[in-house]
């Protein structure tokens, strides 16, 4: 169906993909496996026409193609279902499915009847038992995904790329999705399936390709490889070697959270956090694992004081009650957060490195509100060298740094406040392996100096590698707690998968 030959792609001189070749067969599911940053999304974006500049060639249905935009790829039958779904929440299913290619009557008005009828057909085929008039906002994530698939089918897609389709859906919904995929196979569609969940892959995929650092490390028949082998090929090393020495167990309670619950404002009654209780000890790295929507990020945000209306919960920091109504209260008390999305929440991209580093502790470099340039520069340079931030100067605009260095700037900003507790949300998302290891080292060193550290991550290897203790969350609750010795991928994942539908 589709052959990609020797695809290479560089970003700012750094190779994201190198000589990647793959072959998609009609009626087969091809799994693409790799850690974050291995090049999976880049490859998919090339196939679906998002990136138009690359080396190598794509042969689709026997012809050499080079798409100039995503629409061209869609029109010729290659469709991608993104991890973040591209649906308009305030429109209904029919409107979403036909968005941009509405069927018109002879008078150029919308032919709602036909569109609704066709939508109904698609929904029936995909066994989604809701009315075509249902608003997307009222659907569960799994159902929304089915709508995306319906949309792809409407394009008569022959190649359907699914990017982490099960990251946010329940077991039951996964079964439904697999049923749909099996149906699509029978219709001779070629399916690309990207997922971190190896169990799933061995169940649904026919063949696999493993990427690491932009290169193909292995490919073959899914039946011929086991999970351990996959993991080895993904990381290029045995995971166990990255596990740190077990350190002296710390016993002084730094932070304790009691009876924390949080309800969503918008959808009445939806519980985001449900009676969370835990302690954090000094010098400890506490890993919190959960799938998407488990409430991990919200937990950190609540500790930071971003949801001040939480009822009845008590926080104590070193035996003193903590009442953070706003992040600046929390930061003053010694709690900082390295947010998940550094571009959106971590950095002022248009400002330079120095100003970003000093942002949280400007008062330390100022007298009567007037900033001392000298002290600010000194502070910035101290952290630039301590964290080995690669930047031409402290005046470099943060936007121009690489992901890893940007992340270090966020860390520098947090550390400059001299915190007692450092919370990191997905600390190594989208950064290269080298910077990743530097950040792990840094976290370890910080904890050795007595900081309490909370690491939230959806990457199991990461959680296993850094944590002294692991909490697992699902649907707003803590479902399990493991010590480093007890924890392994299986028991963590088991606890993380939601039980109710």
């Amino acid at each position: 169906m589709l052959i990609a030959e020797k695809i290479s792609k560089k970003f700012a001189g750094i190779a994201a993909l190198e000589d990647v070749s793959l072959e998609l067969l009609a009626g087969k599911v091809t799994a693409i496996i790799g850690e974050n940053g291995a090049g999976k999304s880049t490859l998919m974006k090339i196939l679906s026409g998002v990136y138009t500049e690359y080396e190598g060639r794509i042969i689709y249905k026997g012809e050499h193609v080079r798409f100039t935009n995503p629409k061209e790829a869609q029109d010729s039958g290659i469709n991608i279902i993104h991890q973040e779904l591209n649906l308009v929440p305030d429109m209904n299913i029919t409107e979403n499915i036909f968005l941009g290619r509405e069927i018109l009557n002879s008078w150029n008005t919308l032919n709602k009847k036909t569109m609704r009828y066709k939508t109904q057909q698609l929904l029936d085929k995909l066994k989604l038992n809701v009315s075509p008039d249902t608003h997307i906002a009222n659907l569960k994530v799994g159902q929304q995904q089915v709508v995306e698939i319906a949309k792809a089918l409407l394009y008569n897609s022959d190649v359907i790329i699914m990017d982490e389709p099960t990251s946010a859906i329940s077991d039951h919904e996964v079964e439904v999705l697999f049923e749909i995929i099996r149906g699509l196979k029978k219709e001779n569609k070629a399916i690309v399936y990207i997922s971190h969940k190896l169990d799933e892959l061995s169940r649904i995929a026919d063949s696999y390709i493993i990427l690491r650092d932009g290169k193909v490390t292995d490919s073959g028949d899914m039946a011929s490889i086991n999970q351990d082998a996959i993991i080895r090929k993904m990381v290029g090393r045995d995971i166990k070697t990255t596990v740190r020495e077990h350190r002296v167990s710390p016993k002084e309670i730094l932070l304790s959270v009691k009876n924390l619950s949080l309800k969503a404002n918008k959808r009445a009654g939806k519980i985001i956090l449900d009676n969370i209780n835990f302690h954090l000890y000094t010098g400890e790295i506490l890993g919190i694992f959960g799938l998407m929507g488990a409430g991990r990020t919200e937990l950190l945000e609540t500790i930071l004081g971003m949801h001040p209306k939480t009822p009845i919960s008590t926080f104590t920091l070193q035996d003193a009650p903590l009442k953070a109504k706003h992040p600046h209260d929390a930061i003053r008390a010694g709690i900082v957060l390295v947010p998940e999305d550094r571009k959106k929440d971590g950095l002022v991209l248009g400002m330079d490195v120095m100003k970003n580093i000093s942002l949280s502790c400007l008062k330390k470099t100022a007298r009567q509100g007037i900033i001392s340039k000298h002290e600010e520069l000194e502070l910035a340079n101290k952290y630039i060298s301590a964290l080995k931030i690669k930047t031409p100067s402290s005046n470099q605009v943060v936007k121009n740094l690489s992901g890893g260095n940007q992340q270090k700037v966020v860390l520098a900003k947090c550390l400059a406040t001299k915190p007692k507790i450092l919370m990191l949300d997905e600390p190594t998302r989208g950064i290269d392996a080298n910077a990743k290891n530097e950040i792990y080292d840094l976290i370890t060193r910080l904890s050795a100096s007595g900081l309490g550290i909370i690491v939230v991550s959806s990457e199991l290897p990461e959680i296993l590698a850094v944590s002294d203790r692991i909490l697992v969350m699902a649907e707003g609750r803590i479902t399990a707690e493991f010590t480093r010795a007890e924890a392994n991928e299986t028991n963590i994942l088991k606890a993380a998968i939601p039980k109710t539908i």
């Binding site: 706003h326 959106k344 929440d345 950095l347 002022v348 100003k355 942002l359 008062k363 509100g369 007037i370």
Partner: protein, 324 residues
């Protein structure tokens, strides 16, 4: 960076170059343009807009906007003038409070600050978009001005008060002094203080600023209060210059000041811009106005030209930021 291509260096000073060309052209086209009296006249005219635009720059840097400055200017000016002229009679008693010039000015400035603070409160507390919140204030303050003045100008404010608007100090008009002091203070605040840094940070990325522990609401409240205060300063300047507080003073001033901010290169989405840029923008608008009058261009055409200049400035700015 030192190795900037030449066009980038030029781009940095494009407004200055544009102003220079404009002045050069006008001095050829009209022999009245480059005279001392006309120059002082232009500077006096723009000093009010400069004061207002400085406040507007702070607001725009936080990615906000203040449409109410014109009305706040009118109300503050009218309060100052009214208090100066007739004081307040406390209702239900024979008590009468008279105001000195400084007392009346202070009252006007407090009025402006409070109105601005109210804007900020509505915006931060109820999450009303700045455009809408200040649009409300535009009407409210205008209505209050009408109520306070009963729709008539308050005139005859005395020579001492008129000194502000028409007097000279050390060879420079008092109005220009006020504008200069405002600008210098504002440059200091924006470059040297924590508050100034926070303004840029909030406009650059509000989420990140909040997570960095910046009290967003406090900063915004102050920014809108400052905008109100400077509008009041403008109101007092206008009242003094005309020796009269007009109920419809300051109509459309918000647009002139937004124009100055935009021409000065401040991004309406916040985080990028400068006070000197805004001053330059105000000067360009002022010179353009003056030049068009000197050249006898019809007032209708003047508006068209002004609008085109604003568009041009923004388009050039966009093109430049893409190059960078």
């Amino acid at each position: 960076m030192s190795a900037q291509p030449i066009y980038l260096k030029v781009a940095k000073y494009q407004s200055l170059i544009a102003l220079f060309i404009l002045c050069l052209a006008l001095s050829f086209l009209s022999d009245k343009f480059l005279t001392a009296s006309n120059t002082w006249n232009v500077l006096r005219q723009i000093s009010v807009n400069i004061c207002i635009s400085v406040g507007m720059t702070f607001v725009v840097l936080t990615a906000g906007i203040d449409l109410s400055v014109g009305s706040v200017l009118a109300l503050s000016g009218a309060i100052t003038a009214g208090l100066l002229k007739s004081g307040i009679e406390l209702p239900g008693s024979n008590l009468f409070i008279g105001f000195t010039i400084s007392g009346a000015i202070l009252a006007g400035m407090v009025t402006g600050s409070l109105l601005g603070c109210f804007n900020g409160w509505i915006i931060t507390k109820f999450k009303v978009p700045p455009f809408v919140a200040t649009l409300g204030m535009l009407t409210i303050a205008r209505g209050l001005t009408m109520l306070w003045t009963k729709g008539y100008p308050i005139s005859g404010l005395g020579n001492h008060f008129a000194y502000i608007g028409s007097g000279w100090l050390l060879g420079i008009p008092v109005l220009v002094w006020i504008a200069c002091i405002t600008v210098v203070t504002a440059v200091f605040i924006s470059n040297k203080t924590i508050f100034g840094r926070y303004i840029f940070a909030i406009g650059g990325n509000e989420n990140a600023s909040r997570l960095s522990g910046i009290n967003i609401n406090k900063v915004k409240l102050m920014v809108y209060s400052i905008a109100g205060l400077l509008a009041a300063v403008g109101g007092i300047m206008v009242a003094s210059r005309l020796d009269s507080a007009q109920p419809n003073a300051g109509m459309g001033y918000e647009l002139d000041s937004i124009a100055a901010v935009v021409i000065g290169g401040t991004s309406l989405s916040g985080g990028r811009g400068s006070i000197p840029g805004t001053v330059l923008g105000a000067v360009i608008i002022g010179v353009l106005n003056n030049g068009l009058v000197l050249l006898d261009v019809s007032p209708f055409w003047q508006q068209v030209v002004k609008g085109l200049v604003i568009l041009l400035a923004v388009i050039v700015d966009k093109a430049n930021s893409k190059v960078e």
